[in-house]
């Protein structure tokens, strides 16, 4: 694999990485013929982001010889390469990312002014492909706005605010801070912002809806969009279905997928595969709704799945236990145990092309997230 980004695109690449760092601790990098995909997911599997850079983004793009290469690494290590955006602007002319397959390193070389070369050799881990399953086309509601609108809107909420509620009617949008229904919440300050549909570039509301999601993870995308000047599109459906924010131009597509609070107290099973619901495989609800973290760990140890206990999900054996495993995934989501977010559906099922028209990597098999176990053979 060998790709070269030049000029302003180096900064765009850096910004994409910084955006992803707001989501998760690890960067998943995948190079295929269609382009370079940079992805990240948070530990509770409630937020996922993907930047797909097409070959045209690069001055030179050479896909790996065996059709695809994927790896993951701590995002901090690659962030360090692109640390100072200002100096990237000033002095970096070219950035080259190469796979050194002998030494199993990813070599990032920054070609700077005055002939200065900065070479970073990053080690990586093999991993399974990381891809959340989502379908923008099937969402009932689509909004598109200039990034400035979104940034200005979010300003009214404190940086520490976790969850925000978005409600839409046929001509209005409300954004409110979401407060859990408990005794403390009665004394919390409530903020609400109301926007008219006219402020949006595109406003298509199928049904009056109200969804609640995590604002923090979104800020990474907003910063990216604001600096790129590209409009932000929001796709969402009913509570429980993820909300997708998207920024696109001719050579780049970024998707941020955030889980939303479901209305029931039990984690809603994902709609995409609702026919695979197994009521009897659902663990006693109390375990998963209690505040006791131990109950999560206990459940994992008794599960059929292999994998170290500190990883909330492990890739299932490739065939039979698929359905069982992703239900496990959802139920075993880390994070504040009484959160009612359902985990995004990380499919362990190879989707048929018709199921997921919007998935960008058609040829990619989608599996549950990577295994820490490096002995696991990669399925391709």
């Amino acid at each position: 694999m060998d790709c070269v980004a030049t000029g302003g695109n180096v900064k765009v690449l850096a910004k994409a990485i910084h955006s992803l760092s707001r989501i998760g601790e690890e960067l998943y990098l995948e190079s295929v013929e269609d382009g370079l995909a940079l992805r990240s997911v948070n530990s509770s599997r409630s937020a996922f982001a993907c930047f797909l850079l097409s070959p045209l983004f690069f001055q030179k793009y050479q896909a790996p010889s065996d059709q695809s290469f994927r790896c993951k690494m701590p995002i901090k290590s690659i962030q360090a390469v692109f640390k100072s955006l200002a100096s990237l602007d000033r002095s970096v002319e070219k950035c080259r990312i190469q796979l050194d397959s002998e030494k199993n390193r990813l070599t990032i070389t920054l070609h700077c002014k005055h002939g200065l070369l900065k070479t970073h050799n990053l080690s990586f881990q093999d991993c399974e492909s990381l891809q959340a399953v989502f379908d923008k086309e099937s969402c009932a509601n689509v909004l598109q706005a200039q990034p400035r609108l979104m940034v200005d809107t979010v300003l009214h909420f404190p940086p520490s605010l976790e969850e925000v509620n978005l409600s839409v009617t046929s001509d209005r949008v409300w954004l409110r801070n979401h407060v859990e229904d408990d005794a403390d919440s009665l004394r919390a300050m409530m903020t609400e912002l109301c926007l008219s549909s006219e402020e949006f570039d595109h406003f298509a509301v199928g049904t009056q809806t109200s969804v609640t999601f995590c604002l923090k993870e979104l800020r990474g995308l907003l910063v990216f969009a604001d600096s790129s000047g590209l409009p932000v599109s929001m796709y969402f459906d009913e509570p429980g279905s993820p909300v997708i924010l998207s920024v696109t131009d001719s050579v780049l597509e970024a998707n941020f997928v955030l889980a939303t609070l479901s209305e029931d107290s039990h984690p809603k099973k994902n709609h995409v595969n609702s026919d695979t619901k197994h009521p009897d495989t659902e663990q006693p609800p109390d375990d998963f709704m209690s505040d006791d973290m131990d109950s999560f760990l206990i459940a994992m140890e008794t599960s059929e799945l292999p994998g170290p206990s500190h990883v909330p999900t492990s890739p299932p054996p490739p065939t039979n236990n698929r359905k069982h495993s992703f239900i496990e995934d959802e139920a075993l989501a880390e994070g504040p145990p009484n959160k009612k977010f359902c985990s995004l559906f990380f499919s362990s099922v190879l989707p048929t092309p018709s199921q997921l028209p919007n998935q960008t990597m058609q040829s990619q098999e989608v599996l549950a997230s990577d295994s820490e176990d490096e002995n696991q053979t990669e399925t391709s």
Partner: protein, 284 residues
């Protein structure tokens, strides 16, 4: 009980915000007293606040274009609310370019001060941001705790040195000691002193001037009888003095302090439409 007020002028809004910011830096919770003509932010000296008390008075007409109040009863036409000024500060922060800001007393899941700002937008319809700030209504029987403090019988009254200078001196002294002595005389001289086992530091200020409290200051014994060189002092916790100096967002037109020897340090900041008084008890 009803309260509705509206600010339209951007200058008034900015000024009001600065006052609220100053108050929010001084205390986490205080009492907002509303009368037909004034607003007061009051912190009564309690053990919980370390004995400091604060009285901030605003003349309503200088800030609000509309102001309607119906107090607890006809003979007690006032409202006392306990509020966290930080919430008010936060609500005002992003409303600085608003076309109008309305404040109302409302009842949501609890009594609230609702602040609604009409913001400029890209379309013909304004953006409206609404903040519901939870408050506690203080019953009438407790109002006496929040009366205007009496001007203490001070020994010396003196104008303060430029706040910036005073603040930087106090900041540096804080690194060396927890307590500071502020002493001043009627000759316009003030000293800030710290004294520890390792080091003593004194900063001298001269020619500060002494406010002419005449018959209208509640001063019984005429200060003229006092030896002008005699220092009155108050030993206070530096942290409290620093907190007061740091919070200031409004540049006062007059800044002075009254010292009751070894008892109280009374700081007074006056602006055209706002007055802020802060009482720091002296320690032994």
């Amino acid at each position: 009980m009803k309260f509705r007020a509206k600010i339209i002028d951007v200058g008034c809004l900015n000024h009001f915000t600065r006052v609220v910011n100053t108050v929010s830096r001084l205390t986490k919770a205080c009492v907002l007293r509303l009368t037909c003509d004034h607003l007061y932010f009051v912190l009564s000296g309690r053990v919980a606040s370390g004995g400091v008390s604060m009285w901030c008075e605003l003349s309503q007409g200088n800030f609000f274009d509309e102001f309607q109040l119906e107090g607890v009863s006809a003979d007690a036409n006032e409202i006392f609310l306990e509020v966290a000024p930080e919430n008010l500060s936060r609500a005002l922060k992003t409303a600085q370019n608003a076309k109008s800001v309305k404040i109302k007393l409302t009842k949501k899941s609890c009594p609230c001060l609702t602040l609604a700002a009409e913001l400029p937008s890209l379309s013909s319809v304004s953006r409206v941001v609404t903040h519901d700030i939870p408050v506690d209504v203080i019953p009438r029987r407790l109002w006496h705790d929040f009366r205007e403090p009496q001007m203490p019988d001070f020994d010396v009254s003196i104008y303060l040195p430029p706040l910036k200078t005073m603040k930087s001196v106090v900041d540096r002294m804080k690194n060396l000691s927890n307590y500071l002595v502020l002493e001043a005389n009627l000759n316009g001289e003030m000293n800030l002193k710290i004294d520890t086992d390792l080091v003593s530091v004194t900063t001298h200020f001269k020619e500060l001037g002494n406010p002419p409290w005449g018959d209208d200051g509640s001063q019984s014994s005429s200060p003229a009888h006092r030896d002008p060189d005699l220092m009155a002092e108050a030993r206070v916790e530096i942290r409290k003095l620093q907190q007061f100096l740091t919070g200031q967002q409004v540049n006062p037109s007059r800044a002075m302090c009254n010292i009751v020897d070894r008892r109280i340090l009374h700081l007074i900041f006056l602006h055209e439409d706002v007055s802020l008084q802060y009482f720091i008890p002296a320690v032994v």
